[in-house]
Symmetry: C2
């Protein structure tokens, strides 16, 4: 399944093979914990920072930068439109994760990808969020992702690679969310 | 349930009441469609742009800016660490959405919120993503959100407000994702 080519699709295949072998030898290395801190600014505007994470058996020491990301809401949703909405950020996470899953797993399977882009759409009925109808869900009814991939791989191959995406799993299957209030 | 105070928690309560009344009179106004476009750069690095959306019965004309958001992966995940990972972006979307849901619904219920911050953690076993064990899920096993809220509201009240969050719904319940490949 794995070739020994060095770089494919921008992925270091040697390092990928080493990672897979290391995890097969010691599954504890595969346990990751990602973290973020969110600070409310005002109304529907807030900022998240992310830096530290745990993985490969230790607290990460390689990341130098703290990444900051904002969310806001457009004027029709009572915001100041300073950043994308949280539900648009979900589309960003999903598109990015599906794309990375395809490029990584294509690299591991010796499949070349020359280019890839996608559009994502999600429909939502805000009667749910507004509490006007308890029968209407608060989130997206569904999300459609349309990929345009420049590759000799078949649609079936690409679709199989996309299934490895963690965010695709998080969204399409239930993910337990525990909310605590601390002093 | 609704007061006529103008601004609360940074939310224009008059506009919020008007919105709720308008949607009650015409539920079609509550139908929104959000969109994003993702472009692969290389490896696990890509960029998303979001601008246009549909809502309140029409294509939005108010948003001036196209928001761009990047994802990458840290070096231990074979990336160049130029931006947060997709799974960290999920935490950003969730924290931001829970926060906005609480501030908006608190405003609608005449509850003052003076400050709010949260930390989010998600655990993930990458044996799932790597395809080493089909029994292990690819996404987060679970996400823990810890809120620190400066408010006279009780924990029970705040917890009830948080339930309105669309992203909380998207993550904690199944959301259908349709993946298509186009030429």
């Amino acid at each position: 399944m794995i070739t020994t080519a060095n770089m494919k699709n921008g992925v270091n295949v040697d390092q990928l093979v080493d990672t897979i072998n290391a995890v097969q030898g010691n599954p504890e290395l595969a346990k990751f914990e990602f973290r973020a801190k969110n600070n409310w600014i005002t109304g529907g505007h807030c900022v998240t920072s992310a830096k530290g994470f745990y993985g490969v058996g230790q607290e990460d020491t390689t990341r130098q930068e703290t990444f900051t990301m904002e969310c806001d809401h457009p004027s029709v949703l009572l915001g100041e439109d300073k950043a994308a909405t949280p539900v648009e950020v979900v589309l960003h996470a999903l598109g990015s994760c599906l794309t990375a899953a395809m490029t990584y797993h294509a690299a591991a399977n010796d499949i070349d990808i020359e280019g890839m882009e996608s559009t994502l759409e999600g429909g939502i009925d805000l009667q749910g969020f507004l509490g006007l109808d308890p029968e209407i869900r608060k989130g997206y009814d569904g999300i459609t992702v349309k990929f345009k991939v420049k590759s000799d791989a078949s649609e079936e191959q690409l679709r199989a690679l996309a299934q490895f995406s963690p965010v695709f799993d998080i969204i399409s299957n239930p993910t337990p969310v525990s909310i605590e209030f601390v002093k």
